[in-house]
Amino acid sequence: MFPDGDGKVWEASSTARVIPPARPRKLAKVPFVELADGRLQGVVSSGSDIGRVYVSSVATRGYSFACSTNNNRPCGGARGSFCKHIQALITEAVLQYGAERVARYLRVEVDAAAGAPAIITTMTATRPAQADGTAAAPVFSRFLRHLGYLELVADTTPLPEMQWFPPTGAAA
């Protein structure tokens, strides 16, 4: 969580900062990554086919991993260990959320300064198992939901509730 000088003030503040803002990153390779549902999960573009994406995930518990296309074909690279899609997913998660938050979420004990490669090495060293494919459908629907935000219309009726959400000024 956000560091601050005075815990009492933070607890008594209506606008206490709870999560640091996401950092902007290029989305072409990994259009979607999130820390949710007990997994680091997301969607990775296929290098060869513009109409295809890989749905990839790693569980926070035991690091069991899964990767398949949006048409439910298993990824050939994800046998035995993390495929290049899962590695790209972790790398982009570190860009978006910072190594410290990703490492804490995955309960990986590494020096945050070492970044994504150290996180990946530490996880693969535990010889994680391949997960069943049940995560793919919910992860893909989370991605579609995420895309749906761009389809929603803007509005000029005030949202007083947004007073509780000051701008994310600390973004890098």
């Binding site: 503040s13 209506s14 895309l147 000029t156 005030p158």
Partner: protein, 472 residues
């Protein structure tokens, strides 16, 4: 030089530092209730039951009394229904409403400003009752589990409700609130591993969401149409992971010669969480020309623009055209002191909603430990530099060297503070104005241009994906 009498529009900062009678007692009741939500109301401990009893006692003299007394009796033994939990949220809301009123009276005294009375409240439309009921059921589960009890299964329950609500403009308020709240909770799961909790904040968000699940709670504001000149003061930006809102504060001078009014115009948009910082302006720009006009230092002429009694313009570019240049600092010095404030909607009676435009000069700046404060007429007024967006050229450093400031007077965590919207500062022996919202219409600032282009590219990539995947 502006004189120090009230006619000059200067703020009586001394009034802001004086204790507000009854405030500490009311806040103590709120805080005790808020702490009951840490452990949750499934199996209340004696301290939690005591806090609930205090809450009931605090509203004993109000129309809520019997409703809350019954709710507290049930909640104290872990048997609160959704309606009982709503009654608890209402009691907390009423208490903070009273605190808000006392603070607002103080603000109006300090600024010497008159305020319009609230027209009789009309309930809003009774829409989408099923979705509101689903939201309430989730909020009730949350209150029972407590912040220590949150896990991914519980928190993800909000997702479906939010997705169903977001496309309906009538449900945008509860949907946006629930979405931002659930994202925070999700990032903090499991609650059992948390060392500390944003106690006031989450209780605020929970109570407000609970109130908004009551059909019609948002109210239906009384509207009129106004014609005249709009003089922008500054732009306030709000943002959570999947929503952004820009709110322009301005002085409106009616063409019929009636008294000038303090008004706001808002534009908001849902967004993907990867569009942040300077990138958010492009989501808002096509829907309201005002932030760009304000950023460029221009006035606007309004013709039959709808406005609520609260002073919220319901903006449509069809009712507005660009006017002559209007320096915000001239507006703040000349027009702001005489502008009357709007009424306050019943649900907006909460200290966190206080955001009153003020003009400050002749202050000294302190900076200790990185925290900024102005000394205004001998009184210390903290500066809320955290609310300055990265999406603009205004920085805490510019505030630290400023000689005049247009800001929003706010109250949080027990004290008043000022959020800078714009400052005058001396650069190379010349006085220049720096506005937080200056980049609303675009900018030539190189890093900002790059950041905006990156956001444009991010949106393009996502739209391309959406085009391929959402319609197949």
């Amino acid at each position: 030089m502006v004189s120090t009498d009230r006619g000059g529009g200067l703020m009586r900062a001394d009034l802001l530092a004086e204790p507000v009678p009854g405030l500490d007692e009311a806040l103590a009741v709120v805080e005790a209730f808020d702490r009951t939500l840490i452990g949750g109301l499934l199996r209340p401990q004696p301290t939690q039951a005591a806090a609930l009893t205090e809450l009931a006692a605090a509203v004993a003299g109000t129309p809520l009394a019997s409703l809350v007394a019954e709710a507290v009796e049930k909640a104290a033994v872990g048997a609160a229904s959704e309606d009982h939990l709503l009654a608890l949220a209402a009691a907390r809301t009423a208490l903070l409403g009273a605190i808000h009123d006392a603070l607002t009276t103080r603000v109006d005294e300090a600024t010497g400003r008159g305020r319009a009375g609230q027209p009789a409240a009309k309930p809003g439309a009774f829409e989408a009752v099923n979705l509101l009921a689903a939201a309430r059921a989730w909020l009730a589960d949350l209150a029972r589990a407590g912040w220590q009890g949150i896990d991914h299964d519980l928190v993800s329950g909000a997702g479906q409700v939010v997705s169903a609500m977001l496309p309906d403009p009538a449900l945008r308020r509860p949907a946006t609130l629930l979405d931002g709240f659930a994202a925070e909770l999700a990032a903090c799961c499991p609650g059992a591993a948390l060392e500390r909790f944003p106690v006031r904040r989450w209780a605020d968000l929970w109570s407000r969401a609970m109130m908004l699940t009551h059909p019609g709670a948002g109210g239906s504001p009384a509207m009129e149409a106004v014609t005249g000149r709009l003089l922008p003061l500054g732009v306030d930006l709000h943002e959570h992971a999947t929503a952004v809102q820009a709110q322009v504060h301005a002085v409106f001078e009616p063409a019929d010669g009636s008294s000038p009014r303090l008004v706001r115009a808002s534009v908001s948009a849902p967004k993907p969480d990867t569009v942040v910082g300077v990138g958010v302006w492009q989501l808002l720009r096509p829907h309201m020309s005002l932030p760009a006009a304000a950023g460029d230092g221009r006035s606007m002429h309004l013709t039959d623009m709808p406005i609520t009694a609260e002073g919220d313009l319901i903006w449509s570019d069809a009712h507005a055209r660009l006017g002559e240049p209007a320096d915000a600092f001239a507006t703040a010095r000349v027009a702001l002191p005489g502008a009357g404030a709007g009424a306050i909607a019943p649900l907006d009676r909460h200290p966190a909603v206080i955001a009153v435009p003020v003009f400050l000069e002749d202050y000294a700046v302190q900076r200790d430990d990185g925290r900024l404060a102005f000394t205004v007429a001998g009184q210390r007024l903290p500066v809320d530099a955290d609310r300055i967006p990265s999406a603009g050229p205004l920085t805490p450093d510019a505030v630290a060297t400023s000689s005049a400031c247009i800001g929003l007077l706010r109250w949080d965590a027990g004290s008043f503070r000022v959020q800078p919207l714009a400052v005058e500062t001396v650069v190379k022996k010349k006085t220049v104005a720096i506005h937080a919202g200056a980049w609303a219409g675009g900018t030539a600032d190189k890093p900002a241009v790059k950041a905006e282009q990156a956001a444009t590219e991010a949106v393009r990539v996502l739209r391309e994906r959406a085009g391929k995947l959402l319609r197949t």
